[in-house]
Every structure is written in structure tokens, then in C-alpha cells.
């Protein structure tokens, strides 16, 4: 009954504290929505972003036309033609366009000549045609790609790879065309065909998930909802420590210490209440991920099928977060110390833990450090559950770490509290 009374008392204190309610529920919901929106573009870099690229066609021949045709079907690049190289240069330099392709004059002619030379050399070598006198040495075609200095390396890679792929295809086609032309000269009546080079090799892209039907991927919502949910859950320390220290300063905690047998029920009741609040935060944030995100143009959060695993993970994170909050509350003597240290430590743990940016994009050293962040243990578990549809047994090591972390911090809190009660 003492524990229930403490839980009810904590409930009353919280519902009568508008600031605390805002901090616990409204702020995290706003945070997760804002962060998902802000990080939506970076997460879509490789997948959905369509980049406008200037195209200066100084060739005015078939190579330029072929390049335009090829990019027409590209999901990532939209060519905007402008043949004035000075203007193109200015537009990229000013940042209005992130990149430009400049196809030099006579590029088609040079490519044809080079193809002709290559085929001729092959046929001469095979003894199929007589060696003809070599015209002047041909220089290579130099296609220029201009980049805005602020362009991300990812975009540079995407654009360069796309151009290279297109040119390789065109080159192959023209060499084949030239080969057929020279063969037909030596063997009149040979019908010239246009070989279909597409589909010789296809690449199937899929995710190594058992839940392939849902086509899961790490998008902004899949990353930000669990990440900021955990951040909010660890921020439970703010009202927890604030209320605890306020009770200590006002003297109500002293009165409770003077009541026999109240120590454990008070700590347990507080822990149980804030544990419940953590779970409530989790449920609300997940519901926002599922139902609110699509309303603002983002993808809906996909949970995977292991609901039991999700519940266990949420409970484990709640234990770790509440334990940490209790330790901060008990250890520090003033609200300023507790709240400053507590909030900054959660920000640091979240940064190392992969809340702000995924761990895999961090430098190697930080990736090693991230293994020690409880937020990383939670986030990895949620990623395993949501994206990889993992069995609970696979996330057990991280869950154990979270529970042990919670138990150790809570035990330390009880020890510190007891040692300060009687001095």
C-alpha cells in the first residue's frame, strides 16, 4: 500500500506541474516530429532525392542527345540544358545549381573516330582487313563536371558514376556499330542489326531482412522515432531529479526518512511511477511514428512483427533511464547541478549512442565509444526489431546491458541515499 500511495502521490505532483508535463510529453513529441522532418532529406540522399544538373551541350551531335536521353530516365538526376559555359559556371559557382556537365565540341566526332580506330586495329590484327594509313593522333574526349564546393560527397559520387555508366554504354554501342559497319564493307549483304545490350547483367537490390515484404529501410522516421523516443525516456531524469531535490530542500523527504519503513517504498514507488511514465512516453512516440508521420508527408513507422521483443526492449530502456535519473537525483545536492549534469550527460550519451546520426557514419573511434552508451544499446535493439525483424534472443545481450545498467544505478542510488540518511 505504501508503494501504491507513493505512486499516486507522484501522479498528483506530476499532473499539477504543467512544466513537467510539457517536458515529459509535449516536448518529446515535438522533438521527434521536427527531427524526423529535418533529417528526412539527408536520409533520402541515395533514395529519393532528384538533383537538378546543368548540361552544356557544345557537341550539338548525337552524343549530347544520347546523354540527355539516358538521364531522362534517371531517378536521381534531372538535366537542365544551358549551352553558355560562362553562365553555367556562374550558376554552379553561386550555388544555384549543385553540378553541371560540359560536353565539349566535336565529342561525338572524336568518339566515332576513336571507335573506328579501335575496330580497325582489331580487324587488321585478325587479318580481316588491310592496314590503312593512320590519320593524325586522336586526343581523348574530356567531359567536364563542375561541382558546387558545398555539394555532398555522396552527390558527387552518384553523378560521376551515372555519367560514367552512360558513356560506357554509349561507347559500347558505337564500337559495336562501327564493327558491324566495317564487317559489312568486307562482306557485302551483311544485315546491320542493333544489338540489345540492356539486361545482360541485372542487379537485384534487396534488404537482408526476413520481413522483405515490407521493404524496410532506414529512413528518417525509422531512425528518428526510436532514437528520440529513447532520448526523451532518458530525459525522465529532469522531472525525477527536479522533484526529488525539491522534496529534499522543502523537507518532505526528511519527514519520510523519519517514518519507519518508508525508505524502500518511497524509492520503489518513485521508480515504478517514472518507469510507467517512460513506457507511456514510448507508446505515445510510437503512435506518433505510426499515425502522425504520414500526415506530414513522412513514411509511417514500421514496427516489425516481434511485438513482445519491442515491449521487453521498451521496459529495459525504461529501467535504465529511470535508474540513471534516480542516481542523478540522489547524487547531486542542488537542482542546478543535477539538471545541468543530467541533461548534458544525456545529450553526450545520445550523441555517442547514435541518436543524432547513425553510428555507422561515425569515425571508427566513436563507433567503439558508442558501444558504452545505454542509448546505443536501446537503439540497436530497436533497429534490430524494426528493420531486421529480429528474434528477442538476438537482442538479449543489449537488453541485459540495459537492465544491469538500471539495476546498478538504482543500487548505487539506494546506497548513496542510505549513507546520507545516517551520517
Amino acid at each position: 500500500m505504501k508503494i501504491v500511495a507513493t505512486i499516486y502521490k507522484e501522479f498528483l505532483l506530476l499532473v499539477r506541474d504543467p512544466g513537467g508535463m510539457t517536458l515529459l510529453f509535449l516536448m518529446p513529441l515535438a522533438l521527434v516530429i521536427v527531427m524526423a522532418l529535418v533529417q528526412d532529406a539527408p536520409f533520402r540522399d541515395y533514395q529519393e532525392i532528384k538533383l537538378d544538373v546543368l548540361f552544356a551541350d557544345l557537341d550539338h551531335d548525337s552524343l549530347g542527345t544520347r546523354i540527355q536521353q539516358a538521364f531522362h530516365t534517371s531517378p536521381n538526376i534531372n538535366l537542365v540544358e544551358n549551352n553558355d559555359t560562362a553562365v553555367v559556371n556562374d550558376l554552379v559557382h553561386s550555388g544555384e545549381f549543385k553540378a553541371a556537365i560540359i560536353l565539349p565540341a566535336d565529342a561525338s566526332k572524336t568518339l566515332r573516330q576513336k571507335s573506328n580506330r579501335v575496330i580497325n586495329d582489331v580487324l587488321v590484327n585478325a587479318g580481316l582487313v588491310a592496314e590503312s594509313p593512320r590519320p593524325v593522333e586522336l586526343t581523348g574526349i574530356r567531359i567536364t563536371i563542375l561541382f558546387d564546393p558545398v555539394i555532398k560527397a555522396n552527390y558527387k559520387q552518384v553523378l560521376s558514376a551515372a555519367i560514367e555508366k552512360i558513356l560506357t554504354g554509349i561507347q559500347a554501342e558505337w564500337i559495336l556499330d562501327e564493327l558491324q559497319g566495317q564487317l559489312s564493307e568486307n562482306k557485302p549483304g551483311t544485315k546491320k542489326i542493333k544489338p540489345d545490350l540492356s539486361g545482360l547483367i541485372t542487379i537485384d537490390q534487396t534488404y537482408a531482412s526476413e520481413n522483405a515484404a515490407t521493404e524496410l529501410e532506414l529512413n528518417s522516421v525509422q531512425h528518428n522515432v526510436p532514437a528520440w523516443t529513447m532520448f526523451a525516456m532518458f530525459f525522465i531524469l529532469y522531472p525525477l531529479a527536479g522533484n526529488y531535490i525539491k522534496e529534499r530542500e522543502e523537507g518532505s523527504l526528511l519527514r519520510l526518512r523519519l517514518i519507519s519503513g518508508s525508505g524502500l517504498p518511497v524509492v520503489t514507488g518513485k521508480f515504478a511511477f517514472y518507469f510507467g511514465i517512460c513506457l507511456l512516453q514510448f507508446v505515445l512516440m510510437i503512435l506518433v511514428g505510426i499515425y502522425v508521420m504520414p500526415l506530414i508527408g513522412l513514411k509511417a513507422l514500421i514496427l516489425g512483427s516481434n511485438i513482445t521483443g519491442i515491449i521487453i526492449t521498451a521496459c529495459s530502456v525504461a529501467i535504465a533511464a529511470t535508474g540513471y535519473g534516480t542516481l542523478i537525483a540522489v547524487y547531486f545536492k542542488t537542482p542546478q547541478q543535477a539538471l545541468s549534469f543530467g541533461s548534458i550527460s544525456v545529450v553526450i550519451l545520445s550523441a555517442f549512442g547514435g541518436v543524432w546520426v547513425p553510428v555507422y557514419v561515425m569515425p571508427g573511434v566513436l563507433q567503439q565509444i558508442s558501444r558504452f552508451s545505454p542509448l546505443n544499446w536501446g537503439l540497436e535493439s530497436f533497429n534490430d526489431l524494426f528493420l531486421r525483424d529480429a528474434e528477442t534472443i538476438l537482442i538479449l545481450p543489449n537488453l541485459l546491458k540495459l537492465i544491469i545498467f538500471g539495476a546498478v544505478t538504482l543500487a548505487a542510488s539506494i546506497f548513496i541515499n542510505k549513507s546520507r540518511t545516517v551520517s
Partner: protein, 249 residues
């Protein structure tokens, strides 16, 4: 012969970093049913002594027993029969008077029906019944002080320790509190009353102890204390003679 409900034997307590002990080789005996005034200027060692009686501080030397049990190893059992009203308003400001008292009643391990009955009775006695459902943060200083006292009485302890129970209250509230304490003492509840207010002590205390610089200066009934320092008209004059007129911080 009256039983000693509090027995303090040669206790000393020195805080870390402090050049002087807060309490030095102090011995006291408080009999059952008495209203014992613990008097002294600031820094005399009253609060340290009270904290040690409650088991929140451990003496460096000596022993304290309350209700026949040693505080050192029977703290929990003792606290069940002791009510403490600290000098701070040890209540939750955003809870109502009723919610505060009900919560503390629960923590004392009382049944809901018993708590309700006692809350009703005490709120009536202390003229707070109409404010039962008002939040404590809206109360005046006197109302808070009365509620603070009720919270220490809910489990009907045998021994009540009051630290400045009338601090910052108006004359009316003070009168209600003091009358109640006299009434309580008549029912054989022992009261330890720590205060600066010597007129109050003179009015309600059956026994007194004056402390200064951690040492016991004098102890006995008010009459015995007055007799021990002849030539004074009231307790305040005795107090100033014994503890000096220098301002203490």
C-alpha cells in the same frame, strides 16, 4: 518513580571540518509524560541533538536510547513510536492538506479508515477543516505550521519531537498549537520542544535544558532553573545570563 523515555549518555558529535564539536559529552534524561524544552541560542547543538535522537545522525561517542531502545540498532522500531515535526514545512505544496495527510498516514502504515477519521479530527482541532481540499501552497504560514504538526501526530506517537513548531506563525495559531500540546501532554504523551521562544517554553514546559556551544548548561523544571540562577524575574533573563548577550549566527 517516573520512567525515562529518553536517555542520552555522554554523547559527542563533531562534524567533519569543524574545529569544535557540535555536541560535547552531553547527558540528558527525559521522563515519560513531560514537555521537555530544549533551549539554546543558534549553534547550541539543539538540532544536532534532535537529529541524533531521530537516528539521522550517529554520535561519535556515547549512546541514546528512546522508549527503552538504543537508537543505534533499533532506529526503525523507535521511529514507529516517535513523531517529528521538523522546522521546515515538510509537506508537498501542490497537494491539498487532505492529500498530504493521507499520504503520510499511508506511509505510517495506517488503514484508510483510520487515516480519514484522524485527519477529520485533527483538522477540526487545528481549525483547518474548511481548507482540507485546498493546496498547501495557498496556505498562510500559520496554517502550514499547524498542518506540519498534524502530519507528525497521525500515527499517535508516544514521543513527539517538535523543532520550532511555532516559528513564523501569528499569535492565534501559536495559541492553538500550544494549547493542543498542553492537552496532549495531559494524555501522557512526551513532548520534546526545541525553541528560541522562552516565554512559550515557560508556558508549556514541565522540564527544560539550556544548551550552549554543544554543552548542557542547566537542566530541571522551570522552577529549578530559575532557582539555580537567583536574581532573575523570568526565564529570558536566566537564559541571557547563562548563554551571554553576544549575537550568535
Amino acid at each position: 518513580m517516573t520512567n525515562a523515555i529518553v536517555q542520552v549518555d555522554n554523547i559527542t558529535k563533531q562534524y567533519r571540518g569543524s574545529p569544535q564539536p557540535a555536541v560535547s559529552n552531553l547527558s540528558l534524561k527525559i521522563n515519560e509524560g513531560s514537555v521537555f524544552g530544549l533551549l539554546g541560542p543558534n549553534g547550541a547543538g539543539k538540532s544536532t541533538l534532535v537529529m541524533m535522537m531521530c537516528g539521522l545522525l550517529t554520535p561519535d561517542n556515547g549512546s541514546i536510547s528512546l522508549l527503552g531502545m538504543n537508537v543505534k540498532n533499533k532506529g526503525a522500531a523507535i521511529r514507529k513510536q516517535v513523531g517529528v515535526a521538523p522546522q521546515e514545512i515538510a509537506l508537498f505544496p501542490t497537494l491539498t492538506a487532505y492529500e498530504n495527510l493521507f499520504y503520510f498516514g499511508r506511509m505510517y502504515g495506517l488503514d484508510a479508515a483510520v487515516i480519514k477519521e484522524r485527519i477529520e479530527s485533527y483538522l477540526t482541532t487545528f481549525d483547518l477543516k474548511e481548507k482540507a481540499n485546498s493546496r498547501v501552497q495557498t496556505f498562510s504560514g500559520g496554517m502550514k505550521r499547524r498542518l506540519n504538526l498534524i502530519a507528525a501526530l497521525l500515527h499517535q506517537p508516544k514521543l513527539i519531537i517538535l523543532d520550532e513548531p511555532t516559528s513564523g506563525v501569528d499569535v492565534q495559531s501559536r495559541n492553538v498549537i500550544l494549547d493542543f500540546l498542553v492537552e496532549l501532554a495531559a494524555k501522557k504523551t512526551t513532548i520534546i520542544y526545541s525553541s528560541h521562544l522562552l516565554a512559550e517554553a515557560e508556558r508549556i514546559c514541565t522540564h527544560l535544558a539550556i544548551l550552549d556551544a554543544g554543552k548542557l548548561i542547566v537542566a530541571g523544571t522551570p522552577g529549578q532553573v530559575m532557582d539555580a540562577t537567583p536574581g532573575h524575574e523570568n526565564l529570558e533573563q536566566v537564559f541571557l545570563t547563562l548563554t551571554g548577550k553576544n549575537i550568535r549566527d
